[in-house]
């Protein structure tokens, strides 16, 4: 290996690592606020890329229909679950917010898509379609289990993962897609060719991480989310509606997932089930950081990205094996460091 190749691999590793960092940070965030280890995070990545690819191609993405389906399911289930206490007013609210709005969005997409909208319009449409799915998934699967143990929530998360993979296959088909890059140019720095999209990935990642930092440090809503994470009972006692903080955490997860997908959609071909492996690497980073520290998660994610890039060069067939194997020594090290961190009681 020479320096050029090493630089090339490092570039690859850092780009992938940035995406893993975003996903890892989201996992830490969702876990802190809701205690859900959000395995299906990767599905939002795949759906983000596939939705953008569909809009690129001038067709109506499956997510536009899926959002309507999820909205109907959530409305029906919430109504049944609270059939004794729910008011007509509340049902009306859900019908407007969870069914009427998605239908309007579907109609809008059907009108706009055939004209092959500009990239930024497609990006906004994709976000508008995917972000509401986060809170919907939370309502459908996790909110009814809010008081369950971490293990129960984890099992539910795995169930949701398989359900979403299945839905992905139904709504997008088995074919893979690529999106057009945000920045198509390639820049030369010495011997190194830097893809414009790589810069887009780094730029967007840095902005998102900075934005998250400001959100959690400077805004009341961000602090309320942190408070919910630190002490759920304390948060309830000061009147923070912990259910809506859960929904906000899931909305952030969906937003960051979709953005990640749109960023990497031009660097690699995305299939309906591609999100899982990508999300899992974010997961490795989050676990390495003990599902607790944001800066550590970012560093671990860059490590995972670099490890993956270099093992792809030296032993490409074992690339995934190597990346996922490091979780074992990491877990052993973690469990030795913190022997009593099983299940916190509430």
């Amino acid at each position: 290996m020479n320096a050029t190749i090493a630089l090339y691999l490092a570039q690859d590793g850092i780009i992938n690592g940035a995406i893993y960092a975003l996903l890892g940070v989201t996992l830490v965030l969702v876990f802190a606020v809701t205690r859900v280890i959000f395995v299906p995070q990767g599905e939002f990545v795949a759906w983000g890329a596939l939705t953008l690819a569909a809009l690129d191609a001038g067709s109506v993405p499956g997510t536009a229909w899926l959002l309507v389906v999820m909205g109907i399911a959530a409305t029906v289930l919430d109504t049944l679950r609270q059939s004794k206490t729910i008011t007509l007013h509340a049902i009306g609210g859900m019908v407007v917010k969870d069914i009427a709005l998605p239908v309007l969005l579907l109609l809008a997409v059907q009108a706009i898509a055939p004209g092959k909208p500009a990239l930024w319009i497609s990006v906004l449409l994709t976000l508008a379609l995917i972000i509401p799915m986060g809170p919907l998934v939370y309502r459908l699967a996790f909110q009814p289990l809010a008081d369950a143990t971490v293990l129960t929530l984890f099992i539910a998360a795995i169930g949701v993962h398989f359900a979403l993979i299945g839905l992905g296959l139904v709504f997008f088909g088995a074919e893979g897609f690529r999106t057009t890059p945000f920045i198509a140019e390639t820049f030369r720095v010495g011997v190194l060719a830097i893809k414009g999209q790589s810069l887009a990935v780094l730029g967007v990642t840095a902005m998102l991480l900075a934005g998250l930092y400001l959100f959690f440090e400077r805004t009341m809503l961000g602090k309320a989310l942190r408070a919910t994470a630190v002490n759920r009972l304390g948060a309830r006692l000061v009147g923070i509606p912990v259910r809506s903080t859960g929904r906000i955490a899931f909305a952030l997860a969906a937003a960051i997932g979709a953005l990640s997908g749109m960023l990497i959609g031009s660097l690699t071909t995305i299939y309906y089930d591609s999100g899982f492996l990508i999300g899992l690497k974010g997961f490795v980073a989050a676990i390495a950081a003990g599902l607790a520290s944001y800066p550590l998660t970012v560093m671990a994610a860059l490590g995972v990205g670099l490890l993956e890039a270099f093992s792809a060069f030296f032993a490409s067939a074992f690339k995934e094996v190597i990346v996922f194997s490091i979780i074992i020594p990491l877990l052993i090290w973690r469990s030795l460091k913190a022997p009593h961190s099983d299940e916190e009681e509430e």
Partner: protein, 240 residues
């Protein structure tokens, strides 16, 4: 008599099969301090948690005439009920000031600066420590922060669960002094204490709780003079 501030009617709470609170009825007038005294394990904490809505409990709870028994914790906080729990439940990895700000979460940013001023005036110690993490505070400071955080929400009824627990005598005196000041400022207080002597001194009305039930009630000074109370709870020096 005017409308009671709080009217609890035959409230029961069970942990699985164990009934920790059995058909407790309790009533308090606005602007008063009412105390519930009782030994460790009598069910006092359970009772307060049930009134706050943290634990599900059959039985009626009316707050300022409004039935709150079906309400979630958030709604009860919104109505003006506030609990300072036995374990304080602070946001330990956040600053003292952030803890206080979050206390006014439901009131919005307008209420924050005014609330901070009032709380810092009452607890100057918190002002000195405003940038420190809540987890680094001493026991007395934590209790002050818990009370300050509760006051940020401008409660109409403040429920205090063992505010003197584990504190040095001098700080206990401060805390009880502040409790009386709060009553003077119009906040009604439901005070749960093992420190029966101090509680009966500040309270207007008192209940005695034993293994899940109310066994005695009366004006605080009457109970303080009752031989049975003296024997069981005030004893030789009682609990301090």
């Amino acid at each position: 008599m005017n409308l009671p501030m709080l009217d609890i009617d035959r409230l029961s709470v069970s942990y699985g099969k164990v009934e920790a609170v059995r058909e407790v009825s309790l009533r308090m007038q606005p602007g008063t301090i009412v105390t519930v005294i009782g030994a460790n394990g009598a069910g006092k904490t359970t009772l307060l948690n049930a009134i706050m809505g943290v634990l599900p409990a059959p039985g009626a709870a009316r707050f300022e005439g409004r039935d709150v028994s079906g309400d979630e914790v958030e709604a009860r906080v919104g109505a003006g009920l506030c609990l300072v729990p036995e374990k304080r439940e602070l946001f330990t990895t956040m600053s003292v000031e952030d803890n206080l700000r979050l206390g006014a979460y439901r009131l919005g940013s307008g209420a924050i600066s005014e609330g901070l001023e009032t709380v810092f005036a009452r607890f100057p110690r918190l002002k000195e420590r405003r940038a420190q993490l809540a987890g680094t505070l001493s026991g007395g400071e934590r209790q002050m922060l818990a009370m300050g955080r509760a006051l940020m929400g401008k409660p109409r009824l403040l429920m205090l669960d063992e505010p003197s627990l584990g504190l040095a005598p001098r700080i206990v005196k401060d805390i009880f002094h502040i409790i009386m000041e709060l009553r003077a400022s119009g906040v009604s207080i439901l005070l749960v204490e093992q420190n029966a002597r101090a509680a009966l001194q500040v309270a207007d009305y008192a209940y005695v709780m034993e293994i899940g039930s109310i066994t005695m009630e009366g004006r605080a000074e009457d109970l303080a003079a009752d031989p049975r109370v003296i024997e069981s709870y005030l004893g030789l020096g009682g609990h301090t």
